[in-house]
């Protein structure tokens, strides 16, 4: 090994250690694809429930006028809530599996300092958003839930992108943009959810997988 090779090896060592110690780089693109797929399946179920409930409400209105619509909407709401929770759990578990596999392969601890830092930075905006949206629900304002989820999630991703692969920030920008547009199309939230949590994750996942994990 000649002098120049030795030097550039040294410099690339330094760069690699700086990067590995400050960013969680085993976030897998396949995780994005898996989470996006879960989101699409979830929205499909939710759309189905919404369709059926619309029909049920219409026929109820025709047959009996004194039906307790409030309790019906509560059942309907809780069914949607169940779907949302199940989708979230499925997305997180499947996303975790692929990232876990990748960090095992790279021999990096999946729950090290960098992963912790990433988690804290994604969670702060998301928990803030969660509490904010719960307050909206308590005041019976439902129209802003979908755009709110997208915006706060986007802010979380953008914030966390400093602690993982830098391209992740484009996912954050995309989610924020979709959420902002959704603010002016209240009632179409489900489509924006499918686009933001489904399609955008899948596109991001494919891109990241192509760029970093293909080989």
């Amino acid at each position: 090994m000649n002098e120049s090779e030795k030097l550039s090896n040294e410099l690339s060592d330094i760069k690699q250690i700086m990067e590995r110690s400050s960013r969680f780089i085993s976030l897998s693109g396949l995780s994005g694809i898996a989470a996006g797929t879960c989101a699409l399946i979830g929205t499909w179920f939710a759309a189905d429930v919404i369709q059926r409930n619309k029909a049920a409400v219409r026929s109820l209105k025709r047959s009996i006028t004194d039906v307790n619509l409030r309790s019906l909407s509560e059942i309907f709401g809780s069914r949607l809530f169940q779907i949302a929770i199940l989708t979230l759990i499925a997305a997180m578990v499947s996303a975790f599996i692929f990232t876990y596999r990748r960090s095992k392969k790279a021999n990096v601890p999946v729950w090290g300092t960098t992963a912790r830092r990433l988690t804290i930075n994604v969670l702060v905006p998301m928990i803030t958003g969660g509490i904010f949206l719960m307050a909206l629900i308590q005041n019976d304002i439902y129209g802003f839930i979908a755009p709110g989820c997208l915006i706060f999630y986007g802010l979380g991703v953008l914030n966390a992108s400093k602690y993982t692969l830098p391209e992740t920030r484009y996912l954050g920008y995309g989610e924020i943009l979709l959420g902002l547009i959704n603010l002016f199309f209240v009632g179409e939230g489900l489509y924006f959810w499918a686009a933001g949590f489904g399609v955008l994750h899948i596109v991001y996942g494919i891109f990241m997988w192509w760029k970093y994990e293909r080989n």
């Binding site: 040294e10 410099l11 060592d13 760069k15 700086m18 300092t113």
Partner: protein, 100 residues
Amino acid sequence: MVMKNPIENLNKIFDSRIRLGIMSALMVNTSINFNDLKQLINVTDGNLASHIKALEESGYIKVQKGFIGRKTNTLYSATKAGEKSFRLHLDALEKMIRNL
């Protein structure tokens, strides 16, 4: 005219892969514990400890002993002097590469 030899600016203390690794990691983190450093640089306990000692003795890093529960958790961070010398060392390395 004689060109200034950039090797003069290379710091002897950083002339080791492990010490370079330790300093690189400490430049981009406020502090790191022993196990994370070990994992990062891929060395044995004893080896890492002796290089840390050398850097500590030259005043380039500082050590902070603490506990998490009952387990010791020793944190390392770069001193101002350490950061400065490491930057100079990197500059010198860069210059050498350009001149080669």
